[in-house]
Every structure is written in C-alpha cells, then in structure tokens.
C-alpha cells in the first residue's frame, strides 16, 4: 500500500527527476571566458603600445597623446626621487586627489634616501593600493580613472597608485524604488561606492567583483558581481560573452549596456532588472544572479530575471508574511486592471452590451450624451492624455510637477466632461487604469504596460472579446517564449520548476534553501548529485 501511495504521490508531487522540469543545465563546450587583459577575439586586439624607456620619453609620449598644449587637465610632474633618480607623476586634474599626491607621493619620494623601486613601494610611498603595469593602454585608462601613474627612470613598468579624488554624489535615498520599511540607501554614480554598498550587505568570501571595460571608446569601466561558488558558471560566461560582443563608440550608462546584452531589445518588457537599491541587487546576487555595475550610472543590472521579479517590490520581504502577501495581491490586481480594464470595458461597450447590468448601461448612456467622438477614440484619447500628464509631471521639477498631476487630473478631466470631449465613466476607467499602472514597482514595466494596454484597446475596438483574446494570446505567447539569459520569462509558473515558494504570493522566509531554483546554482547541482 505504501509503495502504491508513494507511486501516486511521486507522479503528482514535486519529487520528480530533474528531466521532468526545465532547468538551466551546463552547456558542453563553454566559450572562452572574456578576460580583462584581452579583447574578446584575440586576433582583433590592437598592437600594444611600446612602454617608454625613459622618463623623458614618457613625458613626450603623454604630451602627444593627450595634447597637453590645449588640454590642461593632464598634469605631468617631473621630479627627482631623493635627488638621485628621475621620476614622472602623471595624473588627471580633478580626478585625482591633490592631497594624496602631494602628501603621500611627492613629499615622501622627494625626501627619500632610497631610490630602488622595491624600497620605495615598501617603505616610502604611503598609498594603500599600488599595482604595476607596462601596458600603456591600461595605464592611460587608469590615469583617466583617477589613478596616478608613476614612471621611474630605468624601470620597465610604471607604478599605478590609487589616488581617486573626484567629486561624487553622496549615498542618498532611492528616487524610484521607495519603501516604507527597509534600507533607504541607493547606488550612486561612483563605481567603487556601488561595489562597497553591495559588499557591506554580502560579507561572503566567494563574492567576486570582476572589473573590465564596458566596450566603448570612452573606456568606462564595469564590474561583474557574483558569487563564485554559487552562480551557474554558464550564466557567468554568457554574461561575459555578451559584454564582450558590445562594441560602441560610447557607453554612457547602464541603460545602454542593458540594451546591448539583453535577449531582445524590441520586446517591451525588460529582460534585465535595473535597480538603484543595493539591498535588492545583493539579494539577487545571493540567489545566484549576476550583477553588472557600470561606472557613472546609479543603476545596477541584475540578470537573469523573470516576469515575477519585475513585479516584486523590495519591500515585500521586509514586511510580515500576511502583509507582504496582501501587497502583492493588490499589486497584481492593479497591474491586471491597468492593462485589461480599458480594453475590456470597450469590448463590452461595443460588442457585448448584454454583459453589463442595466444600471451600468443606463449610466454610461447618460454620461455619453452629447459626446461627439466614438467611444473607442475617446478611450484612446484619454489614455494618451494620461500618458502626457504623467510625462509632464516627471519632467517638470519639484512642486510644479506635482501640481501638474493635480491640475491634469482634476481640472482637465472635469473640463473635458463639461465640454463633452469625454464621458465621466470612461474617465474613471482610464483613471483606475492609471492608478493600477503605478502599482507596478518597476519603471520600465510600467511603461511596457502602456504598450499592452493600447494594443488591447485597439484589438477590443476591432473585434471585442475575440480581438482582445487574439492580442492577449499573442502577448502571452511572446512572454512565454521570451528568455532572460536562458531562463524562461514566466518561470517558475510556466514552466514549472522545483520551486517550493509561491511564485506570486509572499512565501515564508526560507532557512536552508534558496528561493530561485530555476537558476540551477552550483548548490542545487551538488544537492542533486548526492
């Protein structure tokens, strides 16, 4: 009997073999990992610039390369170490800290009685980070980044000294991902600060921060942050491969990087999470995701993600479970109302009037008296006006921006009804849809919802519920077929995976397991093989 019940439960339960689910598996023949010191294809790497043999030659090289006759930002400081050895300090004015250079490099070197490089590094130079390099490209990149390059006469390599001292914004609260309960810190434009913010949350020894060029001619740096013993190596390699493919004139922000590496940049929904919260980025890294931090951008990119990741707010886990669940339910309902309600109402109003109660029919008829435009055009016009008010409110700064929302919402709406440009019922529908839109936590997803909303409204105008079904089914199939770095976008609901956590509601805090099972982390593989 036990064998029989075991058999039945094994068919209908979750304890099935791994081939019963769709999971990320390690690919055979992994691609050559991209390294910091090389470009993606070795044959495309440009010829290495020759390292200058003397300080004088170095000085001339730098003057030519940076056009110091017009470009006064680059500082070339020749001096003598202990009065006996020529040296050249190269740094960028404004990027490097004058104080550090003067107090901890120039002063002690000039006063030093030792001239050999090793002694200078070990006993004289009072800088925390020192590295050596003979790659001129790397050295130039470092100087532009705020390091000081120290050329010593007769030395085959230069010393790269950490002297960052540029002005940066202090850590402040998140602008677009505000929470009531939870940390208020957000990322800044400083790349080091952002990494530090993550390290403060994840005190683990396998946290790797791999820094490399973002791929543009402007040599902006980016970092891959992941947990070496946890993240699926294939995933990490894939991220590296896609980053290596990206070659642009200018990589200005994480937004551009995101578009270059995501699976489909034409699809309205993002396939990479863009977050300004370090706690959110850290929690995903701790699940086995990879985080990319781009210098100059206060957003971190997290991949892979699913649709449900976009709908989750960082606040959910900080609340108690019933409250978190309620918030999520309201959020999903809001999203559904936002996308479906305008089209659904239009379908009923144009094709399936019998579904509405007599009271609603009579009220809508009365409210539409003297409105000259067809109800479909009225709906689309009001949706467009809503989007315009939203954009205007965002672009106009401070209190005026808030006032525009109030003015647009109340006065324009009232005026439109009085002028018979719109009916009050349709106005309420659009307002409800707009409110539901703001329930979606992710900004990109909010905008994407507008695409679907308009498409469904047009489809409903053309063919009622069948038209809406066609459009919704098309969108659903695109969503279902979409992948984010190999993870199906609707995981863990479709396809079903091992996850013991609810995909929508707030589950319990897991003590001994990770929530995102579809990532197929190294831990999962070890557990499966045991």
């Amino acid at each position: 009997m036990t064998v029989f019940t075991d058999k039945i439960s094994s068919v209908f339960g979750f304890d099935r073999e791994r081939d019963g689910f769709e999971l990320i598996e390690t690919e055979r023949g992994e691609p050559d990992p991209f390294s910091f010191r090389r470009n993606a294809k070795r044959e495309d790497a440009p010829e290495k610039e020759r390292f200058p043999r003397s300080v004088g030659e170095a000085c001339e090289t730098w003057k030519l390369a940076f056009r110091t006759d017009v470009n006064k930002d680059l500082v070339l400081r020749r001096f003598s170490v202990g009065g006996r050895r020529d040296a050249l300090a190269v740094f960028m004015n404004g990027m490097a800290s004058d104080e550090k250079i003067n107090e901890f490099i120039l002063k002690p070197l000039m006063a030093s009685d030792k001239t050999d490089t090793e002694s200078l590094i070990l006993e004289v130079i009072r800088i925390g980070e020192i590295s050596r390099s003979s790659d001129m490209k790397e050295i130039k990149s470092g100087v532009m980044d705020g390091l000081t390059a120290l050329f010593l006469d007769g030395e085959a390599q230069c010393l790269m000294l950490e002297t960052h001292g540029y002005e940066k914004r202090s850590v402040g609260p998140a602008q677009n991902e505000q929470v009531v309960r939870g940390p208020k810190e957000s990322f800044t434009e400083s790349f080091k600060t952002n990494v530090t913010l993550i390290r403060r949350i994840l005190h683990v020894e396998d946290l790797v921060v791999e820094t490399r060029s973002a791929g543009g001619e402007n040599n902006v740096k980016l970092s891959l942050v992941y947990r070496e013993g946890l993240a699926n190596p294939t995933l990490v390699n894939e991220v590296k491969r896609r980053l290596a493919r990206a070659k642009l004139k200018t990589v200005a922000s994480s937004g551009i990087t995101e578009q270059l590496i995501e699976d489909s940049s034409l699809f309205p929904l993002p396939q990479i999470l863009s977050t300004e919260r370090p706690d959110r980025a850290a929690s995903h890294v701790n699940e086995g995701c990879v985080c990319v931090i781009v210098e100059g951008s206060p957003y971190a990119l997290v991949m892979p993600i699913t649709f449900f990741t976009l709908m989750n707010s960082p606040e959910d886990v900080y609340m108690r479970r019933p409250l978190g669940t309620l918030l999520r339910v309201v959020r999903y309902l809001g999203a559904l109302v936002s996308v479906l309600l305008p089209g659904y109402f239009l379908a009923l109003a144009l094709y399936h009037q019998g579904m509405l109660t007599t009271e609603v029919l009579s009220t809508v008829m009365a409210s539409r008296r003297m409105v000259f435009e067809p109800i479909g055009a009225e709906m689309i016009l009001l949706l467009l006006i809503f989007q315009m008010i939203r954009e205007a409110g965002l672009r106009v700064p401070g209190g005026i921006g808030q006032a525009i929302g109030i003015i647009g919402g109340l006065i324009m709406g009232q005026a439109a009804v009085a002028a018979h440009l719109a009916s009050s019922v349709v106005l309420i529908i659009v307002a409800a849809s707009g409110l539901g839109n703001f329930c979606i936590p992710d900004y990109s997803t909010q905008i994407a919802a507008a695409y679907f909303r308009i498409a469904l409204v047009i489809a409903a105008w053309l063919a009622g519920l069948v038209g809406m079904l066609s459009a919704a089914l098309l969108a659903l199939m695109l969503l279902a077929g979409m992948k984010s770095f190999g993870v199906p976008f609707l995981s863990p609901f479709a396809p079903r995976t091992y996850s013991k956590m609810p995909f929508m509601l707030r589950g319990r805090i897991l003590v001994n397991a990770r929530a995102e099972d579809y990532l197929n982390t190294s831990e999962d593989k070890k557990a499966a093989s045991q």
Partner: protein, 365 residues
C-alpha cells in the same frame, strides 16, 4: 546560450495535452450524436479518455522498449521509410481534424450567439493568425502558454459551474444512461478517436519531452485530469438541460448560466468564459498542427518543421472556410469515414510496435 531548446517538462506537456483533449471532448462533441436518445456523455467522455490513455500508454511503452526516439522513428523501424510515410498520413489527417473540429464549433457559437451579423470569415481571420503563430513558435512556447490558459480554463469552469449550482436538478439526468448500452459503447469508441491524437502527439514529441518516462507521465496525468474535468463539466451541463434540449444546443457549456434568474454581472460572464475556452482551443489547434508538421517532417525526411507547419496551417484554413461556408459535404463524409475506419490509421503505431517486438524476438532466437 541555448538552454533546453525545444524541450518541455511534464507539467507543460500535460497542460498542452489536456487542453487538446478537453477542447475536443467538450466543444467538438456532436450534440445530436451525444444527446438525441438520452444522455450518458458525462460517463462516456471520461471512459473514452481512459480508453485512449490505455492505448497511448501501450504505444509509448512499445516505443520505449524498441528504443525509438519518437513516433516517426518508431514507424520507420516497423514499416521502413516508405511504409512509415504512408502510415503517417492518416495520423496527420486525424491530427488536422482534431485541430479543425473545435475551431469550427467555436466559430459557429461566435457567429450565432455572440456577434450580430458578422460573417464567419471575419471572425476566422482574428482567430487563424494566432493559431498559425502559435504553431510556428514551437512546443516550448505552446506548453508554457498552455499552463497559463489551462489554469484560466479551470477557473472559468469552476466559476461557471458554481454559479449554476442553484439551477441544478438531478431529475434531468434521468433516465441514467438513457441512450442504452449499445449507443453508450458507440459514443465511447468514437470519442476515443477524438482523444487519441492529442495523447499520441506526446509520442510525436517524445524526444522533446525528455524521454519515454516523462511522456508516459504526461499522458497519464493529462488523461486523468481531462477525464475528471470533462466528467464534471458534462455532469453540470446535464443537470441544467435535459437531453432533448441538449440535442439542439450549440456548445451547451456556454449556456450553463443561462437559467439563472439573477441579473448580476457575475452570472453573465458566459461571453468571457467562451473567450477563454476559445483561447484554449486555439492553443490546442496549434499543438495539433505543430505535431502533424513534426511527424510529416520526420517521416518525409525534412529537417525544418516550419514549412510543413505553414502548409498544414493553410490546409486547415481551407478546411475551416469550407466547413463554415456550408460547402462541407466532402468534409463531413471524410470525417464520418475517419470516425468509422480511423482506428486503422491510429492503430498503425501499435502494429509497428508489434512488428518491432516480433522482429526482435526472432533475432533473439
């Protein structure tokens, strides 16, 4: 990075298979055949599903023993390449009919009961491109969409049935199995033909379902779930309308809430429900086309499924237009022939299994 491309898990496969079975069982059921002399459909349909399950389990079991990757390989092992191509044709025809029948049923309901004065063709052109798109996308997309749609379908069935509970009357079921044992058996056997192609599609896609064991689990779960759902749905309908009334109704499940005296909005969601069911039917048709295309491509030595999917979709469009415009004389004759003699076509894989086993036994001796 290609992760498990073209492979689906048990849940998705079962959702897809059960969607196909339910649409063929509930919506493509001929009301005159099922109800004109009594009502035993709520017993016949689940029994048909279980009968089809037994046959498909035998089929997949034989494929497992013979080491075939999918149905096409199984036919080739049994009959050779030419024989397999010939044996695949009735199978493909059966799959196409399983794609055709529910679509035509829905078109009739939409034309007569939902939209006023709209031609079949106009409605079809909103339905057909989505079917083609879905068939073209492949089983990964189909299976994941099926998980979502089947969930919605179950919710809609539950909502419709619960709302109809106040109008249930058990006397409408009487006489129980009033059509007699002979008619009951006939209905069961003919309905098996409607369920075998969806279950056998699992055999066609067996390599994409991670092997025979997963395929067996898929058909088992799908058939049991479908049997239960169809039985409950038919039972609900049977307690709302007596058999004589049912014989004259198009898609009686659509009218399950029509008797409620309440004027509430929640009781009048029949058009919303039928939209959801239409979505499931579209998905089911796409799955049938995709399966037929795959079988065709494998049996006729083509590497890419897409041209076959496109051709079969157009063929299906032609059949749909013929069906709805009234010029369906030859189609209905073909369908009747398939119903009566289709067993021969469906049983070829089983014959192939027997041949393979016989061949192996001789070799052992």
């Amino acid at each position: 990075m290609r992760m498990n491309e073209g492979r689906i898990g048990v849940t998705g496969a079962a959702a897809l298979t059960s969607a196909a079975m339910i649409t063929n069982g509930l919506f493509a059921l001929d009301p005159e055949l099922a109800y004109s002399s009594g009502n035993s459909a709520y017993l016949a349909l689940p029994l048909s599903a279980l009968l089809s399950l037994v046959v498909s389990l035998c089929l997949i079991g034989s494929m497992k023993r013979s080491g075939s990757r999918d149905l096409a390989e199984h036919l080739q092992r049994g009959f050779g390449r030419v024989g397999a191509a010939l044996a695949a044709i009735p199978f493909i025809a059966a799959l196409l009919f399983c794609a055709l029948e529910p679509t035509v049923a829905f078109l009739r309901v939409l034309h007569r009961l939902v939209y006023d004065g709209v031609s079949y063709t106009a409605i079809l052109f909103f339905v057909f491109p989505i079917t083609v798109f879905a068939a073209w996308r492949g089983i990964e997309t189909l299976s994941r969409t099926a998980i979502v749609l089947v969930t919605l379908m179950l919710v809609s069935f539950a909502a419709a049935s619960l709302a109809a509970i106040p109008d249930f009357e058990t006397y409408r079921l009487y006489p129980i199995m009033g059509d007699g044992v002979k008619h009951f058996a006939y209905l069961t056997l003919t309905q098996t033909l409607a369920f075998l192609p969806p279950l056998s599609a699992a055999a066609i896609h067996m390599s994409g379902m991670n092997g025979a064991r997963s395929a067996q689990r898929t058909v088992l779960f799908a058939a049991l779930a479908s049997a239960l759902i169809m039985g409950l749905a038919e039972l609900s309908v049977s307690m709302i309308y007596p058999y004589r009334v049912l014989a004259g109704l198009l898609t009686p499940l659509y009218r399950i809430n029509f008797l409620s005296l309440s004027q509430s909005y929640l009781i009048r969601l029949d058009k919303l429900y039928i939209t959801v069911w239409l979505g499931v039917s579209i998905l089911s048709s796409a799955y049938m086309i995709n399966s037929a295309a795959r079988l065709f491509a494998r049996c006729f030595g083509q590497k890419d499924v897409t041209p076959a999917a496109a051709s079969l979709s157009l063929m299906l469009l032609a059949f749909e237009l013929i069906s709805v415009t009234g010029e369906y004389g030859f189609l209905s004759r073909t369908h009747r022939a398939l119903v009566r003699f289709g067993w021969l076509g469906i049983l070829t894989p089983v014959l192939a299994a027997a041949l393979i086993r016989a061949g192996r036994s001789r070799r052992k001796v």
